[in-house]
Amino acid sequence: MLDKPASALRLRERLLDSERLMEETGCYDGITELSLRNQDPLKFETLHTKLRAYCVSAREMARRISASPGVREVGEMVVAIYTPEGDAIALSNGIMVHVHTMSRFIKWMIKNGYEDNPRIREGDIFANNDAFIGTVQVPDVMDVVPIFHEGTLVGWAGAVCHELEAGGITPGGDVCLAQERFTEGLFVCAEKIGENDEIRRDYVIRCERNLRMPIYWVLDEKAKVASCIDMRESVKQLISEIGLDYWMKVSKEFIEEGRRAQLARTRQLTVPGIYRGHTFYGHVTAGKPGFQPLGDPDWLYNIPIEMEIGTDGKITMDFEGTQPWGYHSMNCTPAGMDGGMFVTLTQHMNFEGLVNDGAWMATELKLPHGTWTNPDNEMVATATSWALLLPAYGVFQRLLSRSFVARGYVEEAFVGQVNSPMIEMGGESQYGTPFGMAHFECAAAGSGALAIKDGLDTAYVGWNPESDMGNIEVWEQSMPMVYIGRSIVPNSGGAGKYRGGCSFVSTWLINKTSHLRLHTSEHSSRVFDNGGMCGGYPAPTCQKHRAVRNSNIHELAAKGEPLAHAPGTDPHVSDYERNIGGDHVVVEGPYITAPHKQGDIFSHSYNGGGGYGDVLERDPVKTAWDVENGFLTREAADQVFGIVLKDDAEGYPVADIDATAKRRAAMRKERMAKAIPVSDWIAAERGRVEKADFAPEVRKMYASAIKLSPRFTKDFSDFWNVDARSIFTPGAKP
């Protein structure tokens, strides 16, 4: 039974009271004055830094317990310390998206009567991976433990790891084939999984019997519990030093300070106003094995975002006009949307480290009911929410960046994140045992460009600001595939004065298995799911998969013949097709096919980021370096950037500055000659719009947006001077 908390109120009442105070005063928990900070700022800041140190050190310790290369190598973990009501006070580095999703989990338990049943006691361990309670997707499993001090609940310690295997319909964690909740894998719904600091044996047995690779999940549980106990004991020690009353007050002041700091930073770095942007995601599954005919096999989603920055510094993001949820794995819950906002804010604006839930409280998300951002059906699948979250928060980064450019802080402008397609696999391992795994080398994509330099090559994803692709040798220990190539993909960054960061492509030989299931997710088809900025182009994020079944690679190797280690730069014929015999396969969108076996070859390319600025302003010298090092092709340098390269005595590319200036002047003229006034274009396009002369998936996208959003309908109708409703939803009730 919960012992009496410091305020003598039960947790539920205390939580409701805290929310009421926020509503009434506009300040967290009704804290209108930072009195402890004012009394002794040094003590205040030292304590906050100490709490952060507890978190960082607990996470590093726990990573050594994990067996998962995702956690050990890539760092797919975050830990945090919370108030009794579940608001984050301090957090570690890592996948910070979950700091706020865990907050939702704790609040959900409190609001659902957990104090009475199953009760909250010292030594209890609670776990959750249900996104409607508070996480992003099924592989993000979180554990929290209450912190008691002399019988009083004084906070929570929490930890999340991204699991590499979740036991869903397809192996891995991002269960790409899940079309409803019931095929996503093992759910733990705000469950008490341990007591007296020990994980229950029956829970471990459930994991062992429902996962393809339970060693990852179970050891991650132990890692998380260890980190929570470590933080708990540190906090208890701290309270014995500073006193309970001071702790209860200071922990909340930290959050109110975080809220005020976020508002102040917005006022410092941005410009108030309304910012708009959009992106798209295309999904192509027609004819692919395993998809149930529950909805359209191929579809196109629009993701429009309107961001308002008020003069008080509050940021509001509105997703009105986007698409309905669907029978696919890419839906997202409000918890996931919050998480996306939190991880973007923390890396984009709160770079001083002392960040907490207060930052999130200075923002607001408007998530239209019934859309993929806020499904009105809790049976939907959310296993690959990131497929839509990443493009969406890439737009958010560009909108914020526009405000940084306007305010003069050009060094902070960042074209942002792109989707990071993930490979997942399972079947028979190279050791002859069953296995399942997600391959996390995707944690090192290319970033968008900055307003003052090129983007980061193979070094960034939005969901983990400490991107790390992991060591090849470690991945090879975990899967029945060996690398025969990993290389930069030329031109994979969007073109611009500053190009987006480039991505890489891996090529594997499937080895020592007769049954390997390979799947991919978070991979948009037919459309770019990213954008450029200020004249920069989007990165080419609609790449196809290439594989060779029954290859003759062993024969070629025995003869010492050349192999292929990357697809090459000819979009029509890959180097695999040129050099390797066998059955060549090119797959658009998610890779879902029959199992592979040893001797097959599989390749997967990741995404680069969008570009910034006009391509004709790109530095020719830098471009020559890019060509020399494989980041750009000569073709692109010439054709896209207008840079004339010649060879030096040793055959290395050198920019011809004079010839480049002439070529660019000609390209600029050509550009102007080809362009027409926008008003003429609108007049010409209007006829097409009136006839809805679009691909069926495009028409469906408009019809869905119009059904859900009066604002989208009005904006569309006003722009084209048409009645959008009668064009796309004839016969529908107004």
Binding site: V271, E411, C534, S679
Partner: protein, 163 residues
């Protein structure tokens, strides 16, 4: 309080500042006098005299032109009232065929032109490519930014604009 010279801000904006120095600026507390210094840097760069009120893109500025506030290209071309979408007064080139998309993506897989087009918004006077939209055919042109100019100058900068 952190502060940098106008020369440093100029080099930062043009991408010419050495990376170690840039990195220090990124890691340090922000310089609160940045806005007006950056405006001065832009003002030195443009060949016209209208006072710049707000940069809105790499080569686009809202400026005070007589009694009007307009969006102006660095070359001097006016896109009209800053509250209206400047893109509607621009020139446009749309890439909605494989051939035209291939010009920008010579070595990659292409989007399906039936699902997605590239729209290039160009200054009709100097040919600068100001913005690129990747959108489904038929998608309305987006109005990127409607700044609260008065609120910004009044409440955040403490220097209200003259009506």
């Amino acid at each position: 309080m952190t502060s940098y010279s106008k020369e440093i801000i100029r080099d930062l904006a043009s991408g010419q500042l050495p990376w170690p120095q840039t990195r220090r600026i990124m890691s340090a507390y922000k310089d609160d006098d940045r806005f007006f210094k950056m405006v001065a840097v832009h003002q030195d760069r443009v060949p016209w005299k209208d006072p710049i009120l707000l940069p809105v893109s790499d080569h686009l500025f809202i400026c005070q032109s007589g009694d009007e506030r307009i969006t102006r290209c660095e070359c001097g071309h006016s896109f009209g009232d800053y509250r209206k979408n400047w893109k509607l007064k621009a020139a446009i080139h749309v890439r909605n065929t494989e051939e035209s998309l291939r010009e920008i993506y010579p070595n990659s897989d292409l989007p399906d032109p039936e699902w997605m087009e590239i729209r290039e918004f160009i200054c009709p006077e100097c040919g600068t490519l100001h913005e690129v939209e990747a959108a489904a055919p038929g998608y309305p042109i987006v109005h990127d930014f409607e700044p609260d100019l008065e609120g910004f100058y009044r409440d955040w900068l403490g220097k209200p604009l003259q009506p």
